[in-house]
């Protein structure tokens, strides 16, 4: 798989909605993902300061590297999720080592 070009998706969403995103990432062909827990942020919906006990003001960041066709497939449900619960997502090409 050396030097293959892949697509990297980076997604920031509210922590309580992570399970929804994980469900999307069960799509066949998504080989894995990495989760950076408890990130803070600022966006249209105000400040997420990672304080308090309900995780309502906490984000997580998820990184997915997969084939470009697969990325095309999961983009729409991710977009729909974000428009419902907040967050951002974007993608880029990367060279897999």
């Amino acid at each position: 798989m050396a030097m293959a070009v892949k697509t990297k998706l980076e997604i920031v969403i509210p922590k309580p909605d992570l399970h929804r995103l994980k469900k999307i990432l069960e799509y066949p062909g998504v080989g894995g993902y990495t989760i950076i827990d408890d990130v803070k942020g600022q966006g249209q919906r105000g400040e997420k300061d990672n304080l308090g006990l309900s995780d309502s003001f906490t984000n997580v960041m998820v990184i997915v590297v997969c084939d470009t066709e697969i990325a095309e497939k999961i983009k729409e449900p991710i977009k729909a999720l974000i428009s419902r619960v907040g967050g951002i997502a974007y993608h880029q090409e990367v060279n897999w080592i």
């Binding site: 309580p16 304080l51 308090g52 309900s54």
Partner: protein, 316 residues
């Protein structure tokens, strides 16, 4: 008015935390510590409640207390929803309704330590009531939203499971259960942890919560004057109504006092957790600041001593 609460270190630490936010101190506990101490507090109070539940089995009297508290909680949720329905969208009205119908564990814990300091007894079932009363107003609030969206299913059982398994509810209920069934001799060994250092941990926790409350207060200007006035007055009205009901059903002073605390408290842990899952359209930037930035301080600063005076006066 009695200034006793102003000299109570527990309360003072809360306001030290609020101050830390407003003077932009970088004093801040990592969220992992906040979680640790909150679970500790819930575990301790749960074990204590369970232990006493075991000692004093449930009577008709107790059932009356539980049922009337449940009814009161739903009534609050119902009127608050209809009050805000005209002023904001349906999701946020439901969020505020559930917030005030449900209960505040930290207010309860602070009130319990106030009771103990005045050597007034209360029933262990009140702790079980705390755990159980978190739920109904949440379900009611979500129901208000869903019945206006007939395409979405209510998913009632999923919702109940979700709320009962939310971290803070789960450990409280679990600890009540363990407290109730454990061997009492073995429980004694745990007391230095759950009892002796409890008040100190509470101080520490409230300082941290003060910082969070300070952060949430910065959302308040967005809410409008009316909403803020509601957040100031509602806890007192709800609490006094609950205390009166307690008097009617013949509760003991300690139990009626805690009924007042259940009625007056507004939830800022279980409600946002459940609403984030079930009604993500409701904005936690509205109902959390209201509960934590206004109602919580009103309750611990003014409510806790005031309700006590009312109870003393009604039961004298």
């Amino acid at each position: 008015m009695n200034i006793e609460q102003f000299l109570n270190p527990i309360i003072l630490f809360f306001f030290l935390g609020v101050l830390a936010h407003f003077v932009k101190s970088d004093f801040q506990l990592p969220q992992s510590i906040t979680k640790f101490i909150s679970y500790y507090l819930l575990m301790s109070i749960g074990l204590k409640g369970g232990y006493e539940l075991h000692e004093n089995p449930i009577t008709i009297q107790v059932l009356l207390i539980l049922i009337s508290s449940l009814a009161g909680s739903l009534l609050i949720g119902w009127y608050v929803f209809h009050f805000f329905r005209k002023r904001t969208d349906i999701e946020n009205a439901a969020g505020i309704a559930s917030t005030y119908g449900s209960v505040s564990a930290v207010t309860f814990i602070t009130a319990v330590s106030f009771l103990e300091q005045h050597e007034i007894s209360y029933g262990g079932y009140m702790v079980a009531a705390l755990a159980l009363l978190e739920l109904p107003a949440i379900i009611q609030g979500i129901f208000f939203v869903r019945k206006n969206q007939p395409d979405q299913q209510l998913g009632l059982s999923a919702l109940i499971v979700d709320t009962l398994t939310h971290g803070s509810v789960f450990i409280l209920l679990g600890s009540v259960l363990i407290g109730a069934i454990s061997d009492h001799d073995l429980m004694e060994d745990i007391k230095p942890f759950t009892h002796s250092i409890f008040k100190g941990m509470l101080c520490f926790f409230l300082m941290d919560l003060g910082i969070v409350a300070g952060h949430r207060m910065s959302f308040l200007p967005r809410l409008g004057k009316r909403v803020i006035v509601f957040g100031l007055i509602a806890p007192l009205v709800h609490a006094i109504a609950f205390i009166l009901v307690g008097r009617l059903v013949g509760a003991s002073p300690g139990d009626a006092y805690l009924m007042g605390i259940l009625g007056g408290g507004a939830s800022y842990i279980a409600v946002p957790a459940a609403f984030r899952t079930a009604v993500p359209e409701a904005d936690p930037g509205i109902y959390v600041p209201l509960a934590l930035g206004i109602t919580f301080p009103v309750n611990i600063l003014f409510g806790i001593p005031l309700y006590y005076q009312i109870v003393q006066w009604l039961w004298q």
